[in-house]
Symmetry: C2
Subunit: 205 residues, 2 copies
DNA sequence: CAAAAACAGTGACAGATGTCATAGGTAAAA
DNA sequence: TTTTACCTATGACATCTGTCACTGTTTTTG
């Protein structure tokens, strides 16, 4: 039997999933936590073969738990992220922090059980969406803005005019115009509005 | 026994919740659907006392189901929305489309069962978050854009210049300028970039 | 019907925006 | 040390943007 700690803030989802997994004869959910803090408390008391970890949680989120686990010198449990997709960057971070893989909540029950077994056996589980995303990230020529440009871009994203930005950053308006011009060129857009849209959708701000 | 159709796209959540509800001796989930289209198919074949409806789904979402149900002249089932919060506006729309209430997925199981019974009995279930939001909305002077203005605003949100918009909507550039000017006045902002930011954050586009 | 909105258009204007060439100072990397 | 990149700045320029006043037409509404 694989012992499993389930960390998920939505009560219905947590109870339901625990029930489902317990119905199988290979996995037993013998620990539950509503959020990161509770999860760490449980992990202090006893060990689990695997931790099923939600990302979005109150108090302490998935990344927080992973960070805390990484600091533990003793044997760390395998962590399988269970997420609703959405935020690829967070998943990348999670993998970097030692997660053994992730599955979407849209996964079928059997696949989930297989994934858990795979992770416990020392494997990694990555669904296609993330690998695609990583590839795309690598292919897309990384936009490198200087510190100042990023500062100006943030101002743009607040809807500030060149004059306001100049005043806020203690520069001449002409300087700001130059920065804006460079930003537009780097982002390959034609005006500040497009720059803001691109910045938002790419998480640059 | 209250018969219940559960509409939820995430398999794990759906199966788990169905299991939980079936453990109670008052509610039986005797219909499941992965998305709106499946839900409507099920509803054609037979009746349920209540429909537990997720909002975000592929194919046909919660609002789509409600819209379709509203067109049915015969007796419509009570609908209880189950959501992850987030989008208040959608909830408002859902209520306007005849939903009997909504609960967050973070609800406790007992509360959910109570809510279902309440809805079946003809009541309405509204959690505090939404009522607060509605109040706030009413306090904030409602921005009323005309159809044309909304069309122009959408173009603005795509980063289009006046000339492009004029071409796209088959108007003179001057006309578009006037529309933009009116939009800025109504949104109480100073330029198109701020308008786009406000539009995005308020879900106007 | 009559009043009120919404829609389309023009022309003129001030100011904002973005580009370009040019150039000095500074700090980090080769 | 030399080079490179970054930050700063200016002036000139073309273009874009937003405002205003005024004129119509069409559609909605009381």
């Amino acid at each position: 039997m694989i012992s499993c700690l389930l960390v998920e803030d939505q009560t219905l989802v947590r109870l339901g999933l625990a029930n489902l997994l317990n119905l199988s004869d290979e996995i037993v959910v013998d620990g539950q936590a509503q959020h990161g803090v509770e999860a760490l408390q449980q992990l202090e008391h006893r060990d689990f073969d695997v931790v099923l970890l939600d990302m979005r949680m109150p108090e302490l989120d998935g990344l927080g738990v992973l960070t805390a686990l990484q600091k533990r010198t003793c044997l760390a449990p395998k962590v399988l992220i269970i997420t609703t997709f959405e935020d690829c960057d967070v998943l990348v971070e999670a993998m970097a922090l030692g997660a053994k893989g992730y599955v979407l909540k849209s996964i079928e029950l059997e696949e989930l059980i297989d994934a858990i077994k795979l992770v416990v056996a020392g494997g990694k589980v990555l669904q296609p969406a993330l690998t695609d995303y990583l590839l795309q990230k690598q292919i897309a020529p990384q936009v490198i803005l200087t510190a100042k440009e990023l500062q100006v871009l943030k101002c743009l994203s607040l809807g500030m005019a060149n004059k306001s930005i100049a005043h806020a950053l203690s520069n001449s308006e002409g300087t700001i115009r130059n920065h804006v011009s460079n930003i537009l060129a780097k982002l390959e857009v034609k005006d500040r509005t497009q720059a803001v849209l691109k910045a938002i959708s790419n998480g640059l701000v």
